[in-house]
């Protein structure tokens, strides 16, 4: 006000000036607010675009085109006379499928035409038939109607038909399209639930590729991580929060933990490669090494959240127990720790979710190998779900794009479930003091 009085303005003039500036100030206020709303909208939009993109690309992978065939388990064609392990391994199931296809389209004669016809069906269909015969040996010499997976090119074409009228032919020839449409019209080619996707391991053929091996690998890796990181993390938190004297040593530990929480994950991969694999000679590509690396990576998260939940237990609990003559260790183990456990569990779940989504350090320790078999233990070579996604994303086949997206959907579903569990657990068990 001193400025204004010095310039000898009347009160009226002052009011006019304020009113004149007020409009522009309010305009600025609105603009600022608009920026805020725009930022929120951008964030929300990013979430929506990301999810709709993934879901629209991936949802079609949960169905798979299958072709109905009338197959005859003819012993002569199979080249076997009894059903046992050894003869089944050599049996010619592809021939059986070819016969069935020729019977369905009797007017196909030329050599190349026939080859074209045979490629309607997935090259893995023979294995499905073998499994079927192994489980039902009485079928030998009889015929039955089965659904077999179509080839991935056929599948891509059939799925693209629902989007546009002509569909995406790609590598599919015109002749093949005619057969496909004939089968579709007669109801012998249908999109059915894609069981293979959940029961198979990786494959070079998209229609035979599944996420089972990767899921089991992820499970083993997470188990190792949980078994190691939770007890160590909780113990470290207890020491730092309840016992550590205030000295430089403790400060060093704390600085270290805070720093490790922000070290790039790929650096942990380098550590795993140099120390666990090269120095200790642990098996490459194994969930054991993956779990060890992820343990070191999630440890800071678990320690920090465990410390927070120890801090939230009020000192009066400790004082009351101490007053009853409990030792400090008894105070912590019998009273503080049980009360802090829900918060620790929540932190552990969030840490596990982080570990489940991690890819880069696992690439370093060789979990990118092409794994077909489902691993049976923590030292078997295996891959994990995020790495499987990375591998499929690199594959050129169009059918792998939808499988990648479907695998992402499975991964996100698991992650969202874990995080929801953590939130629910916190709400349910949290105590307000």
């Amino acid at each position: 006000m001193t400025d204004l009085t010095q310039t000898n303005l009347t009160q009226k003039q002052v009011r006019e000036r304020i009113a004149a500036r007020l409009a522009s100030r309010h305009r600025k206020e609105k603009i600022f607010r608009g920026f805020g709303i725009a930022s929120i909208a951008f964030g929300v939009l990013a979430v929506l675009v990301l999810f709709t993109d993934i879901i629209s690309k991936g949802s079609s992978a949960f169905v798979q085109s299958q072709i109905q065939l009338q197959v005859n388990y003819d012993p002569a064609e199979l080249g076997i006379d009894k059903v046992d392990q050894e003869s089944l391994a050599w049996a010619n199931f592809d021939g059986v499928i070819r016969n069935a296809l020729r019977e369905r389209f009797p007017d196909v004669t030329g050599r190349s035409e026939k080859r074209e016809l045979y490629s309607l069906v997935s090259s893995g269909a023979g294995f499905d038939l073998r499994e079927r015969l192994q489980n039902n040996p009485e079928l030998l010499g009889q015929s039955e109607t089965v659904w077999v997976n179509a080839d991935d090119d056929v599948d891509t074409y059939v799925k693209s038909l629902s989007k546009s009228k002509d569909g995406f032919l790609g590598r599919t020839s015109e002749q093949k399209a005619v057969w496909i449409n004939a089968l579709r019209d007669s109801g012998e080619l249908k999109k059915r639930f894609n069981k293979t996707f959940f029961t198979n391991g990786d494959s070079r053929e998209p229609e035979q590729a599944g996420i089972r091996a990767a899921l089991v690998g992820s499970l083993f890796t997470l188990l190792v991580t949980l078994v190691l990181s939770f007890p160590i993390g909780v113990a470290a938190a207890i020491y730092l929060e309840e016992f550590a004297p205030k000295n430089r040593w403790t400060d060093l530990i704390e600085v270290n933990i805070n720093n490790l929480a922000a070290v790039p994950s790929i650096v942990f991969g380098l550590l795993g490669l140099a120390i666990f694999i090269n120095f200790f000679e642990l098996p490459r590509s194994a969930p054991l090494v993956g779990g060890l690396v992820l343990t070191l990576m999630t440890l800071p998260t678990i320690i920090i959240s465990s410390r927070a939940s120890l801090k939230s237990v009020p000192p009066s609990i400790r004082e009351a127990a101490m007053g009853m003559g409990a030792s400090r260790m008894q105070v912590v183990l019998h009273h503080v720790l049980p009360l802090a456990m829900p918060g620790m569990l929540t932190g552990a779940i969030i840490g596990m979710a982080q570990a489940l989504g991690e890819t880069a350090p696992l690439l370093m320790i060789g979990m990118v190998a092409f794994i077909v078999d489902v691993p049976h233990g923590i030292t078997d070579p295996s891959t994990v779900l995020p790495v499987q996604i990375f591998l499929w994303a690199d594959s050129p086949e169009r059918a792998f794009v939808e499988r990648t997206s479907a695998a992402i959907m499975v991964l996100l579903a698991v992650l969202i479930t874990m995080n929801t569990c953590a939130v629910w657990l916190r709400k349910k068990l949290e105590r307000r003091w």
Partner: protein, 459 residues
Amino acid sequence: MQTPTLFALLLLLILVAYGTGFSRAIGAARSRGGIRSLASLPSYYGVHTALWCGLPALVILGVWLAFDDAIIRALVLGGVADRPETLSGQNLLYAQIQNLAAGSLVGESTPQLAAAAAHLNSLRQSGQWLQTALILILAVGLGAYALMRVTPELRAREKVEKVLRVILLMCACAAIFTTVGILMSVLFESLRFFQAVPVTEFLFGLHWSPQMAMRADQVGSSGAFGAVPLFTGTLMVSAIAMFVAVPVGLMSAIYLAEYASNRVRAFAKPLIEILAGVPTVVYGFFAALTVAPFIRDLAQSVGLEASSESALAAGLVMGVMIIPFISSLSDDVINAVPQSLRDGALGLGSTKSETVRKVVIPAALPGIVGGVLLAVSRAIGETMIVVMAAGLAANLTANPLESVTTVTVQIVTLLVGDQEFDSPKTLAAFALGLMLFISTLILNFIALHVVKKYREQYD
């Protein structure tokens, strides 16, 4: 005895030790008038005995498992008369011996190899025996010793608590071990790399093509290890990411903290935090298959040349990934600004945005800067998005529509696949890792320092 069986047996012994310690304490107390006469509760005597029985044996078992392969290998190779000098040659020879010992050698074997394989088998056999005997004797002997010491005067609780405390301390030190492990693993390999390639060439060289030849006489056998294109690429992608993330993250934090109603906050905040929980490989897929083609088409439609793997796509998506990071960190510091500052500014007649811009933000600035620095260190270390969307060619360019490569991408491409550890090609990855570790360490250190200092002001 196989190691898992031995382990199970050891666990059983520990349980037995606990039980006997417990009952012996009670037995000792009975003659003196109940457990009241004991120095500690009976269960502490049990734990005390179990610790004596199990802990040394477990530690020895762990050390044994960590080193027995290396020792057996050295013994077996030492017994072979004309063993190769090089490490890879020795590896090959040892693998042959191992296969022969397992009975699955393809190809012919010499008497020398057969002898070595027999040697290996006998060493393994006796190693197994020695291990079993050592562990069991240790467990039973020390367990029995502890059991003898169970008397009412023994202060079992103090002793057990002392051990527990040491175990807790060891767990807390895991963080230090990890840091030391990281430093050792990247430092040693980097030093080996810098013996082959001068530091100055690595830090200031403008040309990066690490294709070292397997043989010396191969064409193009000399690799080039000038890392400047990688550093500029990393900086460009990170700069684009920060350009997206800082304004959006900061403004949404401000809006959520200062303007939004409770309902909007309850809806928008978790939705934006979802972005933080999405795995990076998913962002990478999104960037490579959706954003990059979109940007390429957009650029072409306005007449610009764009590569299908562009720095812009990777940077944009990385920015989206970092938004929740910045917004939640800023949210914390904005909420920590005392309400009295806002009330004062509003009372003087400033509008809400003026209060935010001239009072709240300056007061929260150190915390925000700390958060942004942490976000930069994340952007630099982010791997999957750039591996999938930024490209592999080391271009020294300032055009965000071209493909660039980053430090992390090169670490991944150098180390995935062939794994011979004596070529500069793989060692270069560790030198890059060292650079990455040092730069993020410095950023984190400054950031944590700034944040900590700021927090002390208002608490």
